[in-house]
Symmetry: C2
Subunit: 129 residues, 2 copies
């Protein structure tokens, strides 16, 4: 399969696959005599894995680490668990921050609900912020 075909099958673009190869997420592809990249369906599974990793909020570099462990013949389960743990902690923090931000903005917005521009103080930019 050529790069455009496998890209479509895996739901991505040729450009992205070259980028993944460049970043070490995909091994250097086999080449036809003309220099075209040639893939097997195994690669589709690898791209799917990358997509699942992204869906779990992992960065490409973290996914690459998992794949590297796997490619060395080891079981990445422990590393995956650690990454998921770390991700979970990060997300909890983000949720807390975002919730606090939402409350702050909701308050500000309520104050700005009925604007009275005539009472604007020329010395400040906006009394609502």
């Amino acid at each position: 399969m050529r790069i455009g075909e496998i890209a479509e099958t895996a739901g991505t673009t040729a450009k992205t696959l070259r980028f993944y190869e460049d970043q070490g997420l995909l091994p250097p592809a086999e080449r036809t005599p003309a220099g075209y990249r040639e893939y097997t369906s195994e690669t589709v599974a690898r791209i799917d894995f990358i997509h699942r990793g992204q869906a779990a909020g992992l960065t490409l570099m973290q996914i690459r680490q998992i794949l590297d462990i796997r490619d060395r013949g080891q079981a990445p389960c422990g590393h995956v668990r650690d990454l998921l743990d770390a991700r979970l902690t990060e997300i909890e923090q983000q949720l807390a921050q975002l919730t606090a931000l939402r409350d702050t903005i909701a308050d500000l917005r309520d104050q700005a609900a009925e604007p009275e521009p005539e009472s604007c103080n020329p010395d400040q930019v906006c009394r609502y912020l």
Copy 2:
């Protein structure tokens, strides 16, 4: 006041203030004969406003829009309200996505809690992801 002094007063850096000027958030500063930027305390208030905008999750470009409206002599209240509304909607969406992601990852993590590497399938990267 020179740039380093006002930066410290406002809790930022000289570098950042030059950046803000470049981005149009601060008007071009007056200059001493030697070419040094010279500020008044009004600028501190403007920088504080920028910081409040950032604390509300607005981007510098959005804050710049508010300041532009204000600098044209108009009351930015309506625009501020719209921005806060939009921000609120965005945050609600982010919260929903993040909550869903947290649940997904929590499930994955639980499955990976007690790894059994010996049952790893060589055909897949990691059965936990």
